[in-house]
Amino acid sequence: MSTLDVLEKPDETGSTDRPGTVNDFSIVVATVNGSGSQTANGLLVRAAFKMGIPVNPKNLFPSNISGLPTWYIIRLNKDGYTARRESSEILVAFNPATAEEDLANLVPGGVCIYPDDINFASPRADVTMYAVPAKEIMKQAEIDPKLRDHVRNMVYVGALAHLLGFEVDELRDGLMYHFKGKVKPVDMNMNVVLSTMEWAAANLVKSDPYRIERMDGTNGLIMIDGNTAGALGAIFGGVTFAAWYPITPSTSLVDGLNAYLPKLRPAQDGVNDYAIVQAEDELAAIGMVLGAGWAGARSMTATSGPGISLMTEFAGMGYFAEIPGVIWDIQRVGPSTGLPTRTSQADLLPVYFLGHGDTRHVVLLPGNMKECFEFGWRAFDLAERLQTPVFVLSDLDLGMNSWMTEPFEYPDQPLDRGKVLTKEDLDNLNGQWGRFEDVDGDGIPYRTLPGNKHPNSAYFTRGTGHNTQAVYSERPDDWEQNLKRLEKKHETARTIVPKAVVDRREGAEIGIIAYGSTHDAIDEARDQLRAQGIETSFCRVRALPFENTLREFIDTHKRLYVVELSMEAQLRSLIRLYAPDRSMDLLSLAHLDGLPLTANYVRNGILELENK
């Protein structure tokens, strides 16, 4: 079973997507998962990054623990285009089970590096083949036979170092970083790298044109994955409570909390100022989050599709009972269990409307590492300001792959704890207040926290109908007024959520609208289209409900292409409902096969529809 024959489907006819040879190609590493290739692959990415070459990897891994094929695609691009491409130039064929197919799918003129114990039934003349005697090299390097499996992948690192020019110092540095300075494993791994390089120098004749060169395309940047960025953002947002249930691809977000909280908020006298609870399931996780949010903690969870489905009932309660909480959804392919290790943007519409009855949520849509960090803290401010669950929709591509980014910026505003009445406030009000009164005309009521010592502070939280005093009510007018206030609150949310990011180009009639992880492919496609004489503007929305930036963008473009990784064009649907007058000008470029978007898809899609 190979994914690559599809990845490599030559859809690049007439494309401008012809790579160069220096700092401009893609490497696909085919291995078996559980074989430790993550270390080797990460090393390559880090070395390229440290050599100043813009880089972004995409890890296409299977949904099991070990023994199945996995592909890791590294794109290097001197111009900073790092979206996935549909083909790669360099194949590291280290998985015998897929080697044949992987080779068959390589582009003509490509390069194949493989251990010499693989015998291809159909070798290719139009591909440069480098056989590497992996076993022999490890033997020569005197690697303990028991440990050879662990370091075998350093063979292809060494081969690539020799053939393409990864710098040895950067590789060593990378190993030091990875092994946290432990010399022994670093030496052992380097030993294999160097031995391979030595062997290659002696035995391989470089006959392909690809190579990398140090440049300055990554100055001042850092590298991180979106889940860690989100966790760090949450920590700088003052998270005090997290409840979660493990699920790919969200688990590493909570791992990030567990890794960084002890460093950034170290236990004092052995006690922690945060609580992280592994719940028994997602129903419990969100229940705990709402309980903690209600009692005044900055509380969060992270999950993915199936967990979102299980949170439906509580999500509706959080909306209706007006309880803050932050819920990260690292999107993977659904419906159902779907493809747990593949990326998607198809939870957008279900999350916006999550809950039976008339429910609409505030949803943040980070598109890059900085936003994962920023929305990590801002989500708490919004949740407490708006007294409502705030969803943050990331995806597997953002969350689990490493991305270059500018360094994170410190929050530009103090924590916003929202409208909380203290005992003193209540004293000043002579104890007169109503939990669900719209005092300020923004639809957001005031709340008190349990523990408030004022005798009038208490109120009763419930998912049933209530009046402004939080007293049970079945009165039609109470219901309607309350829901109208919630509607007003949603309108207030519209004005304070992160605004869309717009890049306008002179004279562009075409507007592209998207969200999240797809912008790299879109940016690249836009440049390609420009080269073909088609100017486009781009509006990347960053939250639901939509705000005015989107409206203005729509109003100032003739044709609008909504680009997304969803079978049913969910984003387009929501925009159509937001701007019904422009429904027919909102064209859809939507598909979902579990892989990150490519510039090709966007460019070809737009060309096709434009030429119609």
Binding site: G220, L221, I222, L232, I235, F236, G238, T240, F241, L264, R265, A267, Q268, G270, V271, N272, D273, Y274, A275, I276, V277, A279, E280, A284, I286, G287, M288, V289, L290, G291, A292, G293, W294, A295, G296, A297, R298, S299, E313, F314, M317, P407, Y410, P411, P414, L415, T448, L449, P450, G451, N452, K453, P455, A458, Y459, F460, T461, G463, T464, V471
Partner: protein, 350 residues
């Protein structure tokens, strides 16, 4: 779980030690059927809170969905309340208790809420030992949806609506013991004094304290043959012992007679005195507790009292080494790391 439990020592003053009248512990008027067992439990909660001089602002009232779960609206008006979703109170209280460990959760659930839809959360709450009082108002029936069997209905129990039950009951006390809960009691809403003493002890317990109170549904399950009815309870209740809660152990006076009573010392000072009635019973022995429950079930004995006690296990706060300051009250300086920390982090990631 709570240091606030101090007692008026039987004085019948109008105000308690913190200057509150009993009325200050009342709730809104009940909307339950008149005579419903749940209402008498609410009354006992009010009495006990007043007697113990609980600070209303330190209590939170938690519940799921059902007639029983409505009742927190009918006591302690001055305490915050959270009427959650059906079967999901345990998770909500876990979050709230961790967010603010100085709060004393008094939670009310029903047999449907806990035994059917909520069984998983119930067991996992107990496993975590969230410090709280967990009251199950157990009537063997779904009151609010008009009379279906719950999972605690006895085999052979008849209901007008639902016919005869043939599935074995889930014993929520046995489930609690299996989940390593350290305070497991059964009572009868018709036995006001026992309910009160158990509540007092439960409030002082450092961990989850479960009280499974048979609380008749007068509308759907109160015919004489029903093991969850008033007539049956009145006729068949077999208290294991006469329970008295003693706020401070050293106050225990002279009346100790070997073999006649057991005194269970609690964390932080108080104690529970169990005076023998018919049988010898030591609630600190797990096997005896289980045996008692299994035999009671097969003989259809309606045994009440403190069934199991063991205060050894740490609470979830202990397991998480949690700060004494409520998380909800931590100031911004403590929870948002500094600019310098971020700069350092950025540098590390470069």
């Amino acid at each position: 779980m709570v240091a606030t439990a101090t007692q008026t020592e039987g004085r019948r003053d109008k105000v308690n030690l913190i200057g509150l009248e009993k009325g200050d512990y009342r709730g809104r008027p009940s909307t339950l059927c008149s005579g419903c067992g749940h209402d008498s439990i609410s009354s006992q909660i009010i009495s006990v809170a007043w007697e113990l001089s609980l600070k209303p602002y330190e209590v939170i009232k938690m519940s799921g969905i059902g007639c029983s779960s409505k009742s927190p609206a009918y006591f302690l008006n001055r305490s915050h309340g959270f009427n959650a979703l059906h079967g999901r109170m345990p998770s909500v209280v876990t979050g709230a208790s961790l967010a603010n460990r100085s709060l004393v959760p008094i939670a009310v659930s029903g047999d449907g809420d806990t035994g059917s839809i909520g069984l998983g959360q119930y067991k996992h709450l107990l496993r975590r030992n969230v410090p709280m009082v967990y009251i199950i108002e157990n009537n063997g029936v779904y009151g609010l949806t008009k009379g279906q069997f719950s999972a605690t209905a006895d085999v052979g129990q008849k209901l007008k609506y639902a016919g005869v039950n043939e599935l074995p009951p889930i014993d929520l006390c046995l489930e609690a013991i299996a989940a390593d809960c350290g305070f497991v009691a059964r009572s009868f809403s018709g036995d006001a004094k026992q309910v009160r003493e158990l509540l007092k002890a439960a409030i002082s317990f450092n961990g989850t304290a479960v009280i499974d109170i048979i609380s008749p549904c007068v509308t759907f399950n109160n015919h004489e043959e029903s093991t969850k009815s008033y007539p049956y309870g009145k006729a068949n209740e077999e208290p294991l012992h006469d329970i008295t809660f003693i706020p401070k152990y050293d106050e225990i006076s002279v009346d100790y007679e070997p073999g006649e009573q057991i005194t269970v010392q609690m964390h932080g000072g108080p104690a529970i005195r169990l005076k023998k009635i018919d049988r010898e019973y030591d609630p600190t022995d797990k096997m005896s507790a289980i045996k008692l429950l299994l035999e009671a079930e097969s003989n259809q004995d309606f045994v009440t009292g403190l069934i199991y006690f063991d205060e050894k296990r740490g609470t979830i706060q202990d397991v998480l080494s949690l700060d004494q300051t409520p998380l909800a009250e931590l100031p911004a300086e403590r929870i948002r790391p500094s600019r310098e920390a971020l700069a350092k982090l950025n540098a590390e990631l470069a």
